[in-house]
Amino acid sequence: MTRASVFGGFLAAGLGALAGPASAQSVDVVHYWTSKSESRTINILADAYKAKGGRWIDSAVANFDEAVAVANSRIAGGTPPSAILMNPGSTLDEMTEAGYMRDLGDIAEREGWSKVVPPFVLEKMTSNDQIVAVPLGLHGANWLWYSKKIFEEAKVAPPRTWPEFLEVADKIKAAGYVPLAVGGENWQINYIMSSILSGLGGPDFYQKLYVEHDPAAAASPVVAEGFETLRKLQAYVDEGSVGRSWNETTGLLVTDRAAMQFIGDYVKGEFSAAGKVAGTDYGCVLAPGTEGMYQVYTDLMTITAVDDPDVVKGQDLLVAAVLDPTVEVDMSRSKGSTPGRSDVVSEGLDPCARLGSESLAGARKVFSGPYETLSSDQMGQVTDLVGQFWTDRSMTAEDAATRFAAIFP
């Protein structure tokens, strides 16, 4: 046996293993749900898919950006995944426009999705007039989480406006606690900035600035006022904030060292992992001034355009698995989100989840969160600016506001 033939044998064996036995229905899912509660949630879906007789190929990637990059490389390379976990927004729109996504319109019509999926969610599943995705769940963005213990000790109530927030923070500081838990990563600072601008400007301003990208709104005095408020918040932050991740930051609330944090409701996973109960150990209110609105991020399972009829069958089965009412409820329980179907019963919700689902049912105006309404490039520029403003204390609110306006031409 020559060396070449040995090598050839190995090569053939390797290729054989790669091709594998052709299963009737399989689905190759690119996703980024890798934290504890996230992987638990994606496994609920995977198990349901397997129970329906399909084969689940898990292509987990560390974070959202990389997942999108991997998926796009695979599409460009001619081996597209069957489905990608994504959020609606400019990235998905670009991919749909390029013909990368599959139009699920016929299934939607056949199964009457418009009757079971609320219009807001259906709109998020739609890109370039095509339905290209099914909803996994919805997360609220404009939340303020607080430690009940510290609030009781400092004898304060959750603030309802930004001036009130500053008063409350002063009292908490006087009681010897860190008023505001924030990790000094730019996106975390920008998360607060979005809440400030939403709270100071109200729903109409949010619509104009974040949804319509109106230059007049971006140049309005609200923005400068927002930066001034953000500057004031720096007095309430602890020394170790620089570069701290959001979940390490939540640890300050879990251990009752810091009083408040602005973050999405996925934070509940961190609290529950530490054995803390919503309404007893920690409380939730909408961010100061944002009582009238609920900002939402929608997790979508987007379906790619493929030619292979076997893969298409696998995708059909995945769509059915995601929309299965039991799976929808189980997934949102596991992840602390609200189900994407309006006809499923979700009993035993905690007070925070109840507020979220009431909002979606029409209690207040529902918007997409800033990360979905701004393009990732625009959001990146805003994040850079806010991060720079936070670290460079010599930058005035007026300067920052001028540069903010320049991002919205």
């Binding site: 990059a69 796009n72 730019n186 620089v242 720079q388 670290t391």
Partner: protein
Amino acid sequence: MTRSKAPARGLSDMPESGFRPDLVAIGFFLVVALVFYGSLLWTGYLSLTNSRLIPSYEIVGFDQFARLVATPRWRTACVNLVILGAFGIAGSLALGTLLAILLDRDVRAEGLLRSIFLHPLALSLVITGLAWRWLLDPVTGIQSVLRGLGWSSFHLDWLADPDTAIYALVVASIWRSSGLVMIIMLAGLRGVDTDIWKAIRLEGIPLWRAYAQIVLPSLKLTIASCIILLMADVVRSYDLVIALTKGGPGFSTDLPAKFAVDHFFGRANIGLASAASVVILGFVASLLVPYLLIQRKGRA
């Protein structure tokens, strides 16, 4: 034609195994040409387009470069590259040379010390960055330890201050690279002719002058090699930044490579990221200048 002759001679010289070094070389050449130069040209092309998430081929001229220059974050990144390059290289070179000289004075346990000083180089940059992040963290690191021991006024919060955070990177990179410089310089010092040392002793020249004016100047080429190696380290120090500061606070410790990667993958802005990459290519090309100078000198 030499081209047609080459394979024939290769066949006659080679034993029966059929091993063809010329074919291997051609394969290598093709891979380099396609993968390396191909990507390079494509990136250059994309930098002139308005590509966003998906490459577009609509030429917009130098718009992306104009936006790049106008972006404060990019300017900070370039300044940081210069700071990291200048202080990092100078520091590693000085410390490494000093260590090499000390080791060269016949210290005891030279082998052990050499391993200790060289060890940081064997660590992954991510681990280096993480270790220094923990050490310099004001809440959990050196500052809190010394304050806990009673030195309550001790202050070390480089990472928290946007003006000093880049110097934390400098320190970490000096810590990492000094060992490499030491080992190369030590090899150089060992190669110095014993006659020169005899002459130095005969003349009664003080030790520091002997090194500063006679020995080190004769090691010019060795020093230049160190500088080139260190420069390559600086340009690719992406992982060190990610582990140590993630570019923060704000974007005060951003580097051009991180800027490009963020815009390629995070911001879905292939056009701007390509423009950044082209500028980085310019930086890398400028690394070749000292190398070419040495070569020319070597030939002369």
